[in-house]
């Protein structure tokens, strides 16, 4: 029997779980206050749904569940390894959401503001240090084409992040239509926008020179590459000049999203146009956004409009826009900063022989203010008290002398 968890699986100590639960409570509380509803979808999906989904590289990381009983015997006899599994663990929350929406649409509000905070699974290579089981935290608005949704998502996500205490952050915003227009205007041939975008997406990692080199390596001219990097990175392209690269509607909407979202931030975080922002996922169709932590570096949330995906199950074009908070990233930032969940204060009531009922009654009287643990008194009470203090207890009381209160810590 193996004592440590399976590779890439995490378990969490009480204080870590308390911090994760506090994060969930604050995020969900913020989202609910804007009219979002939480739903629950199963972690297991039919394997054909997963295999036929738009998950890109994630499709190679699916945990496949074996058939059982006679069906497994038949599959083994067939000699076809692909037939051995009938179910799989979801690799994200978007595919289950699309299926859920198709299945329950007539019982859901229109538009549907939805929260999912739940586990997903990917068979990442353990060497990369990535978790194979992790919590994703998504909000989506399904059924509305209005860019008011974008403004709302940026605002509510900004407030949720603000409630978590991760320090300063900035929301970067772009539009796929602008990026396509810029690529075209720089002289790249028709049909090359996707592959050029894939390279631009690596800007943070490989820098301007790396992007130039990779584009030339892909067979594009150095002139095109230089012009593109100049437009995207020089700061010349502002939200007021996007009209040069995109149609009037796109330009106006992007400007309206950024202006309004910036005003609603009340100066607590920045909202700015970034023409070089790609966001990897191929399914984005319009606005894309990403939140960058200034104190800790890196992306802590991202999202965008993806009008094609949700309707996949119903063969309709259902507009949708979503924002995903990097739950595990933020948990690692907060726990690394020594931030603790702010639950109720903890108290202990010590009892000796025949004092149990008195102790329980004493404890009940304190439960409005404290989480109260009953502790059977041992001979060496000093060690018991030291252990309680270490666990964060702030009060100890003795059942036989309830007026004598032992207070731990100074500032508690």
């Amino acid at each position: 029997m193996r004592i440590i968890p399976a590779e890439g699986m995490n378990e969490f100590l009480p204080e870590q779980t308390a911090l994760r639960d506090m994060m969930i409570e604050r995020i969900v509380g913020t989202y609910r206050s804007f009219g979002y509803s939480k739903i629950t979808t199963p972690a297991i999906e039919p394997i054909e749904n997963l295999d036929n989904s738009d998950g890109g590289d994630n499709l190679r990381l699916i945990f496949r569940i074996m058939k059982r009983g006679q069906k497994l015997d038949d599959a083994l006899a067939s000699g076809d390894p692909a037939s051995l599994s009938d179910l799989g663990l979801r690799y994200d929350l978007t595919l289950p959401l699309a299926r859920y929406y198709a299945n329950n649409r007539q019982r859901l509000p229109d538009p549907f503001r939805v929260i999912q905070i739940d586990r997903a699974y990917r068979a990442e290579r353990p060497q990369r240090g990535r978790s194979r089981e992790f919590v994703q935290c998504d909000i989506d608005i399904i059924g509305s084409e209005s860019v008011d949704c974008e403004v709302e998502l940026i605002t509510v996500t900004g407030r949720a992040l603000g409630s978590l205490g991760i320090g300063d952050f900035t929301v970067r915003v772009n539009h796929r239509g602008v990026l396509r227009g810029v690529i075209k205007s720089c002289g790249f041939p028709d049909g090359s926008a996707d592959t050029v975008s894939v390279t631009v997406d690596k800007l943070d990692k490989i820098g301007e020179d790396g992007v130039r080199e990779e584009l030339v390596g892909k067979g594009f001219s150095a002139g095109c590459a230089d012009r593109l990097i100049d437009v995207l990175c020089s700061g010349k392209l502002t939200v007021d000049s996007v009209g040069e690269y995109a149609d009037g509607k796109t330009a106006e909407e992007l400007s309206s999203v950024i202006t309004r979202a910036a005003e609603l931030s009340e100066g607590k975080y920045g909202v700015r146009f970034d023409p070089s922002l790609v966001r990897g996922q191929g399914y984005y169709t319009g606005t894309v956004f990403e939140v960058e932590s200034l104190g800790f570096g890196g992306t802590v949330a991202g999202g965008g409009r993806y009008d094609g995906l949700i309707g996949k199950f119903t063969k309709e074009n259902i507009p949708a826009v979503g924002f995903s908070i990097g739950f595990e990233r933020i948990f690692s930032i907060l726990s690394g900063s020594g931030i603790k969940a702010d639950g109720k204060k903890k108290a202990a009531v010590f009892y000796g022989e025949d004092e149990y009922m008195a102790a329980m009654k004493l404890a009940d009287g304190m439960r409005d203010e404290f989480d109260v643990t009953l502790v059977a008194k041992k001979k060496k009470i000093g060690r018991q008290l030291a252990s309680l203090e270490e666990q964060g207890y702030t009060r100890a009381i003795f059942a036989d002398r309830p007026d004598e209160i032992k207070i731990f810590g100074e500032n508690r």
Copy 2:
């Protein structure tokens, strides 16, 4: 692509998820107020841990996850179907807890009061209408032999159930030592206690005649069977007379648990001795308890002392006692009774063209009291209002005339 969830998997609508979240909040809140800590363990365990565990029939219901890449190819080439999986989904929360305790013991308090509310998986036959993914809700005290733990578990579980509003319930209590003593005193041969207990466990389902018949069918004498049923079901055996069948310590402890737990119930639920209570699990070693819902029928919680199981990973005898609330059973009772989560009240702010920012500010001013959704005004506002009322909204306000408040419902 398949629109409905995979067989036996459940998805939950917003109002169902809100009810489940409310249940979790109340249960966890009650447990925390008694000093219990929540932990998180992975849903995926190494397959060897699951296969070698004490899960009885559950071992046949494990969802097995296929190996990946070269390891899968090797396993396929070996021709041994048992080698195809390296991981599995947990069938309960007790095995992960035992592994977790062994792995983290030095960082946990002693005794360890622990909460787990999380999913488990069993490949039940879909025909039986059972879920294959379900939430279990366990509390355990690990590391103490004292029956004060039993008193506490009954009390805190009684209060958690009381907080859920499932109506009247009774806690039945027995002790494995008493049951073994009764079986022996009725003349059953040595070593037959387990198989006799298995039959007695069916008393609720097959009745006294069924138990008698099954015992005779197992080769025991009708005299033994009659004596057993008389002792267990006639009401003659009371907590004051258990000393006839069990050693003095067992009798005294059982009496002390029942007397104290009954007093701490403050008359809100019954706590009574039931010598016929078995609780199926073979791993129980001492006290066992079960909660019966009087209004809705059936068991809503159960547990007992299991001193051998937790130490399995460390080869030590670590005392432990636990109580498990039937989360899915209680959810089905509550949702069947039309009980709803009592979240914040819901309000809508309608806005027309160019009124978005004003509406958002109006909404922000209401968010202390309400969860507020922004609604783009359509031409047929009557339908929008009707839909909001149906969704449980109690207020609607218009951004262009904020003093005119539309109130839904009478008693809201």
